[in-house]
Amino acid sequence: MHMNRRHLLRQGGALALLVSCGVATLDEALAAEASGFDAKTLDDALASLGAKPADSKDITLTSPDIAENGAVVPLTISSAIPKTDTLYVLVEKNPFPLAASFSIPDGTEPFVAARVKMGESTRVYAVVKADGKLYSTFKETKVTLGGCGG
């Protein structure tokens, strides 16, 4: 299993170069069902979450200022807003901006860390749903080794 995982990881870097080179087909569009995940622009994705989020300083989004490899960009999100129940991650310039949503039940801290892909330098938005309202913050990440021939 160890060998296998290492092999996968090694391949990941090379394969990642190709990520942003393709063109979406109908199949892929259909594959991304569920609310928000099929939205192709940031505005559409935000609209599918509900109301327009308000800017908030109580959300902490950390990501590298410069990501060497756009296929693996580590992010952490935490919220100091009371009654936070959902965290969303959106990558503005991805083909489907909504990357993930995390539901936070009572007893779980409004904190997650994950790694996402981005094809080019882009803003990352963290959107928090708390008490039925939406709040957001964003951070710019530069990708030096992003898509094709960057």
Binding site: D27, E28, S103
Partner: protein
């Protein structure tokens, strides 16, 4: 099925810090193979974490999550020796569950 996840759960001051590394290609569906054929999307869509029968985190992912996904979260209400269980389901209906004892 896929390869096993690596789960590390550590408790301190009543808060359990969980780190998970899943083995999954997380294929976007945007890439092409060497013959120019599109590689179909293959990615984890749903993730659920439970401890002591209680759901402590659920997540919905898109193909934008990196290959071999890493996830970290923290929750209260479990003690060392309790088990944390993580389940994922991908877009092809494949699923895997692994569990680890909290240290």
């Amino acid at each position: 099925m896929g390869d096993p996840m690596r789960i590390r759960a550590k408790s301190s001051d009543g808060t359990t810090d969980v780190r998970v590394l899943m083995a999954h290609p997380m294929e976007t569906g945007f890439r092409k193979d060497s013959s120019g054929k599109t590689i179909p999307p293959h990615f984890i869509k749903d993730v659920k974490a439970t401890a002591n029968g209680k759901t402590v985190l659920t997540a919905r992912w898109s193909q934008a999550i990196s290959q071999n996904p890493y996830l970290q979260f923290k929750f209260k209400g479990a003690k060392p020796g309790d088990k944390v269980s993580i389940t994922w389901v991908d877009n092809k209906g494949d699923t895997r569950t692994d569990e680890a004892a909290i240290a």
